[in-house]
């Protein structure tokens, strides 16, 4: 029975808050337009900020009337989610942290609650308190919605860029008839090295390449995992009948490999891509001749 009564109370207070928000929409929007969140996003005209504030207040009122004060997925928020996301994104672009944005959303509360307590000055004390609590909960939910929107936008960006990185960073280059090379750039993780391995082996088949060069000049660090991936690629290329050459091992990386105790003894290694190409040409019986001098030179 008591539970039922509380539920009824909450519902009526939510209704009350919804009515209040509709009634005072204009005043709240005007006050919010001067708050940091709206002021910094809508720098061009104050009318625009007021307009945006009105839309948000209207959405909050719809949520309150529907009695779903603490529901992130309430239908009312759907209409302003886009706008809140844009606002949060534009704040984030100017360097504001998530915590800062959350604070700015929280700063919207005093303006609304002052108006509310003024409105309900003549009402019973109990109802006024109930309504204040509901309004606080409602604005807390708004804060969550803003943060959620901002974070999901960030996540989308990260996912898209990760895909782009996978596509862009692994071109297979034909250096000579029967010689292909992959210049690796950036840190290698499992997903990327899998893509590298597959595209290199596909190129070995399509180009009928007898030599495949893995150039790791652009790889900042080599740990045991990366070394293992390299060994796997080399072994797979060998199984297909191609010889794999690892080039571009910088002195620091060579030192790391030795310190880690990784045995690259079965892998042909060269200091630079040019040396690796020279080795591949030499093994195919191709000599590069300097025209000014009479004798052929191996490099």
């Amino acid at each position: 029975m008591a539970d039922h009564q509380t539920a009824v109370h909450q519902e009526s207070s939510a209704q009350e808050v919804g009515d209040f928000l509709r009634r005072r929409r204009e005043q709240i929007a005007q006050r919010w337009a001067d708050e940091a969140l709206f002021r910094t996003v809508f720098t061009v005209s104050r009318d625009e900020a007021v307009e945006a504030g009105r839309a948000v207040v209207e959405a909050l009122a719809a949520v309150a009337v529907a009695g779903r004060v603490e529901d992130l997925g309430a239908a009312g928020f759907a209409t302003v989610r886009d706008q809140l996301g844009r606002m949060a994104a534009s704040r984030a672009r100017t360097g504001a942290t998530s915590a800062r944005i959350a604070d700015e959303v929280a700063a919207l509360r005093p303006a609304a609650s002052e108006l509310l307590s003024a409105d309900l000055a003549d009402s019973p004390r109990e109802l006024a308190e109930e309504c204040a609590v509901t309004l606080t909960a409602l604005l807390g939910t708004l804060r969550l919605v803003v943060l959620e929107t901002a974070l999901s936008a960030g996540q989308e960006l990260i996912d898209r860029q990760r895909l782009q990185l996978l596509e862009v960073a692994t071109p297979v280059i034909k250096l000579w008839t029967g010689v292909v090379a992959v210049p690796l750039i950036g840190t290698l993780d499992s997903a990327r090295s899998q893509v590298v391995m597959e595209s290199l082996l596909d190129a070995v088949v399509s180009q009928q390449a007898r030599f495949a060069i893995l150039d790791i000049t652009g790889v900042p660090t080599v740990d045991s995992l990366v070394a293992q991936h390299l060994m796997k690629t080399v072994a797979a290329a060998r199984l297909m009948g191609a010889e794999c050459i690892v080039s571009g091992i910088r002195p620091a990386i060579a030192q790391t490999i030795v310190h880690l105790g990784i045995d690259l003894g079965t892998v042909v290694t060269r200091a630079s891509l040019a040396d690796a190409l020279a080795y591949a040409l030499h093994r195919q019986g191709i000599a590069v001749v300097d025209q000014d001098r009479s004798g052929p030179s191996a490099r």
């Binding site: 391995m197 597959e198 082996l201 596909d202 070995v204 088949v205 009928q208 390449a209 007898r210 796997k232 072994a235 797979a236 290329a237 060998r238 199984l239 297909m240 009948g241 191609a242 079965t266 042909v268 080795y279 030499h282 093994r283 195919q284 019986g285 191996a298």
Partner: protein, 139 residues
């Protein structure tokens, strides 16, 4: 791989003798039973005729398991005892990746890009990889 139907010994792999080389072309899936049969056939063929090389063309094989990987290694070891060299030719990328992930890098096995290259590797007059006397580069 186990045969889907019991006793389906229909997939006989032909072993062709071309000069001094045995050419074995695998097509499609090779089941355990057929693989063992093939292993025996190759051994007998090497012993019966004086071949110096065996080319196993697996460009038509899309799926391998650890058993087939071991069969390749065993055929090579077997042939070596009978003084013949084995070259596996035309392995697909997916197959190579699978074998490496299984840990079967087959270190004793010679490989070639295709059957033609494998034949060139095995022909006695071939100079598959140029070794100039003037400049000997160690790999």
């Amino acid at each position: 791989m186990s045969a889907p139907i019991a006793g389906s010994s229909g997939t006989q792999v032909p072993v062709l003798k071309l000069g001094t080389v045995l050419l074995v072309t695998l097509q499609g899936d090779l089941y355990d039973e057929a693989a063992e049969q093939l292993q025996r056939n190759i051994g007998e063929a090497i012993a019966a005729s004086s071949v110096t090389g065996v080319v196993i063309d697996i460009s038509g094989v899309e799926i391998v398991d650890s058993f087939l990987g071991r069969v390749f290694a065993e055929v090579a070891a077997h042939a070596k005892l009978l003084a013949a060299q084995t070259v596996v030719a035309g392995m697909r990328p997916a197959v190579a990746i699978t074998l490496v992930e299984l840990g079967l890098t087959l270190p004793g096995l010679r490989t070639a890009l295709n059957a033609e290259e494998a034949m060139r590797l095995l022909s006695p007059a071939s100079t598959p990889l140029h070794h100039s006397p003037a400049r000997q580069e160690s790999p």
